[in-house]
Amino acid sequence: MIRFEDGFSDLESIFAQYRRGSPEYEALSKLSESSRSYVYLSREELEFELSLRKGIIDASLALYRRRLPFRIFQESFCNEAYWDRRQDGGFVLKSGARPSRAVEDIFISTRMYGTECATAIVIIYYKAVLDVYMPELFDRAFPRIVLMNWRDMDQLIDPATYRGLADYLPGDCRYVRNPDVDPLTPEWQGENVIDLGNGRYYGHGIGLGSIDYFIDALNRNRREGSQASAYLMDTATRPDFRSLYLYRKNAS
């Protein structure tokens, strides 16, 4: 169920904004039908989270359509007009480059970039926030950006991992683990996937499909004789929706 701290209770009016079958509608349904209680400060906070979840899904689909190449960190590459490639394979926003323009460039000059699946998730998060914040606020919020992995993500986005959740929602980042991966190809040890809703997922380097599609792809890259299948872990990683909401609210 959903509860609002400011006393708002007209959930139907929020449902009415979204098309049945859309990711927002699916997320809203799961939250409202859950046995768990989800507490929001206000209607605006819930709507912000739904927008950001939709932004995560849209950014995932955009990366898929534009075919961002997969490269392991040692072989990653980027458009050096906007980013400096770091020794460890991460990308650092170039001095003087506008953050919003640099993030947008990944979705325009996509073939000039190649990276691992964890970095793709970082890119997706920044793009989703950019689309919800709009460029001016985004540039103020994220003057320094590092695209690498979870560790280097901005404190404002501050993604956290939740284990054994009652509900998994569209826009969540899930993980399909390959316990018996071939040690020579550790890039197949697992896949970060974005829940697109309706049982579909996006994972950078593998593509778009059901969880079984990702499991099959990972299983094809196990060590010889392995009997242990890849599997979807009982976890979800989410950005700090509340901090991001409050930052925008206080900025406006």
């Binding site: 960190f73 460890d88 992995n149 956290a160 284990r163 071939d182 040690p183 020579l184 190809t185 593998i206």
Partner: protein, 349 residues
């Protein structure tokens, strides 16, 4: 890697760089070929030095004059080095990932087969992994080769003898801002929970970067994110926790690729309650339970999480203090166990 004396060729590489090393090689080749071969076969030689001289050794047909271990190391370097993305299966074509097929073509099967049947291959790989990680070596293909050799030893072979050297490497690379994800993954793929002590040692390091990484890798130990405690106190707390919980912890499968704050291990409260060692991989009991244990475990599973934790901690504490008292306590009905546990901790169940 640490503590061993450096060979002359290693010293030249460290002092004069790769070009200086190759010049020395070239000079000695013409003046003292036998002496050069002796230097190449120095038992203290590091793989990184041999690797830098690989093409010179080959072009001068010196590889057959190397010891079998060093010669095999050069063969392995060729087999396991493959720059650039593969284009094999439909998935890898789309993604640029390497597929199994490519490695089979490039000798992976041969390496794995050799590891199973040939001690020299394992010995060569161990030598590579123990002496080849060097912060001054170029990244890219060399780093990939080192990752593969280390992963083969730890994930396939479970070669635990190299874990101390790999722990050193992980922390050194972290201090230099180098990539450690795959190395950390390989370290945990050794499936050796006792190796966590190698990480815990760094909690008392004078270098804060070591402490930060150790805290992160041991994030499953309560209090590791509390900045108020550090130095010997932090180290000893982690040490005590590991000593008490070691038989009951199991791998979660989480990794640095998966999430920002992975919890690599978790405590099996069921195992801790039963005071029975748990399988590190499956989290299950390796031996069947007796009737009393099965009965108590069923009741235990029906409790909420705080009470399960309370009982598990009390059970373990009692077991370590007085086995006879633990046996009497364990035979009590679960409500009585809870009441006793609550008294032990000074609270209410």
């Amino acid at each position: 890697m640490t503590g061993a004396p450096l060979s002359l060729l290693d010293n030249i590489r460290v002092s004069n760089g790769p070009e200086g090393l190759r010049s020395f090689f070239s000079e000695l080749l013409h003046t003292d070929r036998i002496g050069l071969v002796e230097l190449l076969n120095d038992r203290h030689l590091c793989f990184s030095t041999l690797y830098l001289l690989k093409s010179d050794i080959k072009s001068r047909s010196l590889q057959d004059m190397l010891s079998i271990k060093y010669k095999r190391a050069l063969e392995l370097a060729d087999m396991l080095s493959k720059p650039g993305p593969a284009v094999v299966s439909s998935v890898s074509r789309r993604s640029g990932r390497r597929s199994l097929g490519e490695y089979q073509k490039n000798g992976k099967t041969t390496v794995v087969e050799a590891m199973r049947s040939d001690a020299v291959t394992v010995s060569s790989l161990s030598w590579i992994a123990e002496t080849g990680w060097d912060i001054n070596m170029p990244e890219g293909p060399y780093e990939l080769l080192m990752e593969r050799c280390t992963a083969l030893l730890l994930a396939y072979q479970r070669e635990r003898s190299i874990l101390p050297a790999i722990a050193d490497t992980i922390f050194e690379r972290h201090r230099h801002g180098r990539l450690i994800h795959n190395l950390v993954w390989a370290f945990f793929e050794a499936h050796h929970r006792e190796s966590l002590y190698l990480i815990a040692q760094r909690l008392d390091s004078p270098d804060m970067r070591d402490v930060i990484l150790a805290r992160k890798l041991l994030g499953f130990i309560p209090g590791m994110d509390d900045d108020r405690e550090d130095g010997p106190a932090l180290y000893h707390r982690a040490l005590n926790w590991l000593t008490v919980n070691m038989p009951y912890i199991c791998r979660t499968g989480e990794s640095m690729q998966m999430c920002p704050k992975p919890l690599f291990y978790t405590v099996s409260y069921e195992a801790k309650y039963l005071c029975r060692q748990v399988s590190e991989d499956s989290g299950k009991q390796p031996a069947p339970l007796n009737e009393l244990e099965a009965e108590r475990l069923e009741c235990f599973r029906n409790l909420d999480e705080p009470r399960r934790r309370l009982l598990a901690d009390a059970s373990c504490s009692l077991y370590m203090r007085d086995m006879n008292q633990w046996l009497s306590w364990f035979s009590l009905p679960i409500d009585d166990q809870l009441a006793f546990a609550s008294l032990m901790t000074g609270g209410s169940a």
